[in-house]
Symmetry: C2
Subunit: 364 residues, 2 copies
DNA sequence: CTGAAAGCGCTTACAG
DNA sequence: CTGAAAGCGCTTACAG
């Protein structure tokens, strides 16, 4: 006489795990192995992998237990082929600062850490006319899951349109609202610059210069604008004679500062649009035989590592680049999950006061 | 009456290209499209893609013409699935210098530029015990084409053994001969350090200090060794009382220099094991109210961008990091092509003389 | 030198 | 809630 035995859930689960354990030695498992051991179809395993709700909780639990026991991970190449979409997240950048790039990479990697996504690097040169074409080819061939765009590539509207046309998700990091909230990380550069202005005004400076970045960078406008507004709110004005354009480079900062030092009335403080230019300004001041901050106070922007390594250490405005990268990658995942975001994610830089700023000589 | 027309090769080729041109609008081509238009099997197209010699030159030419006309590129995901090997090259690094990392990335990207390979980033922490396990999982799941290992991960023999066991190609970049020539990029750090020693001796320094890197870094030994040997060849010796250990960081350089400044007899020149520590040494000298190079000459190692931005600009030893990255990636491709290399590829650093070194005060 | 069949490890409609 | 069949775009033996 046969007797129908209806095993309870715990028994069933234990049996499945045991069957899985026996399989262990046979090398890397596939979806078929999981299905066979779980006694379900591979489609059901696929549903579990993809978190489909259409699986009985009990079935799901058994499948998950076997997956855990075998340390199974689905093959990204096979999934990509079937999904027509790879598990690569591309960082498309033209930012010249290695520090910026590395920090952004770190942030993105933080967010991708426990996922199946890999970060691939796509440096570009915006002065190369072929760069959108190359990117299109990359996209069509590698079908990246999504792209992250820091400044200044993030400011290229035509490029983003191409991404949309090719059905590729992206997140733009920029100092202006260039896209819908779900595709943007906003940085309030103008507010950071305003903090620099307030700091210098509070120290008593009246005669303040600004070395701004190139007109082609949105951040240069934002920073100049915020600085100017805050000066005006404090009853000062940004003297056009003390406003010089640089190229965000060390050399341009050095040259701009040299010009400022020979102005009719030498400024007692200078706000440089980034740390690179501030570093150049240091050298110009030194070469002129002047002292920082005794003769001239200097403020930078970015808080790159060089800021703390200069002597005296540079007062500057810090943008949390790593956190921004993390947020951008998280937003990309959110976007893929179909979340509709209404509010933009934004970051406000903060001034870091070190040793390069002090009250002007007359007021010391 | 039908007449057999045997078209010549040129006609045949032109016809194929025309057929391809007609196809153009239908979206992205696959290997099947190419095969159909070329009137061959897809296996033959696959042979052409993979540069198999087993294809009649004429057939190959026609297939290549159609591929070019359609701008066809094989799907990397599909190839990866069939080949059980992806087109990803992993950069596995724990190097703390952003400048080093970014330059290495650039070099690798240079070499991968016109290939189908993508660079993926795998930062690791050697102090994390789980890091080999995580890497193994990455390897087994993503089946990277190969890995590039700069110092100090490159010095981990057990890790490389795991790579071999998992049948993954790799290239180690190190200052010692740790592996066979086909898997190594060698840097002659000791020779660079020797150049620093010769430079200081030539200037007339007798009383020379050295701030070396941490014992756990092979480069620290190589640099100290090369420096010491060259000093001895010049009839000097490395005074143990003027040899201090730092941690390759700014702060450690500052502290080490402070100790040296209070030595019984202050050194007239200091060789720092890297630019970071040299930068710290600058600050210590400044804080002590001394001048560079008038009171103390300083030499760094690496030639990171900060070297040229300091005041006075830092004399340092430059390693061509970007070229090293390029060579490493090229070597990986060579390895995959089955080339057996007998001679190791090596790079010798060179001193870059700037403004931080001069004859000692007494001899000016 | 060339091709038809099978397979890499997944997912997508479709049917139940 | 579950499964059998077909397909993603390639390559690998195998046969000729």
């Amino acid at each position: 006489m046969t007797q129908e035995i209806k095993p309870d859930h715990a028994t069933e689960l234990a049996a499945a795990v045991e069957a899985a354990a026996e399989f262990r030695q046979h090398g890397r498992a596939t979806i078929n192995d999981i299905a066979r051991i779980a006694k379900v179809s591979k489609k059901t395993v696929s549903r579990v992998i993809n978190d489909s709700p259409l699986v009985k909780p009990r079935t799901r639990e058994i499948v998950k237990a076997i997956i855990a026991e075998l340390g199974y991970a689905p093959d990204p190449q096979a999934r990509a082929l079937a999904l027509r979409r790879s598990f690569l997240v591309g960082l498309v950048y033209d930012n010249p600062s290695p520090q910026y790039v590395v920090n952004m990479q770190r942030g993105i990697l933080d967010a991708l850490e426990e996922t199946d996504f890999q970060l691939v690097l796509r440096p570009v040169s915006r002065t190369d006319d072929h760069y959108p074409g190359r990117l299109r080819q990359f996209i069509q061939q590698h079908k990246p899951f999504g792209l992250i765009l820091p400044p200044s590539v993030s400011e290229d509207d035509a490029l983003c349109e191409m991404f949309r046309a090719n059905d590729v998700d992206y997140v733009r990091i920029a100092s202006g609202m260039l896209d819908e909230p779900g595709r943007m990380i906003l940085t309030h550069d103008s507010e950071g610059a305003a903090q620099a202005a307030r700091h210098l005004c509070a120290l008593g400076h009246e005669h303040i210069a600004h070395i701004h970045g190139p007109e082609s960078f949105r951040s240069a406008h934002e920073r100049r604008g915020g600085f100017q507004r805050a000066l005006e709110e404090a009853g000062r004005a940004l003297d056009p004679g003390l406003t010089v354009e640089g190229g965000y480079t060390f050399d341009s900062g050095l040259q701009a500062m040299e010009r400022l030092l020979y102005a009719k009335r030498r400024p007692t403080a200078v706000f440089a649009g980034n740390d690179e230019m501030a570093t150049g300004a240091y050298v110009a001041v030194r070469k002129a035989g002047l002292r920082i901050p005794d003769d001239v106070s200097i403020v930078g922007f970015d808080d790159t590592p060089i800021a703390g390594r200069l002597w005296p250490a540079l007062t500057t405005v810090r943008l949390p680049i790593r956190e921004m990268g993390r947020a951008a990658a998280a937003l990309l995942l959110e976007q893929a999950a179909g979340v509709e975001r209404e509010e933009v994610i934004s970051f406000t830089p903060e001034i870091v006061v070190r040793e390069s700023t002090a009250a002007p000589a007359g007021r010391a």
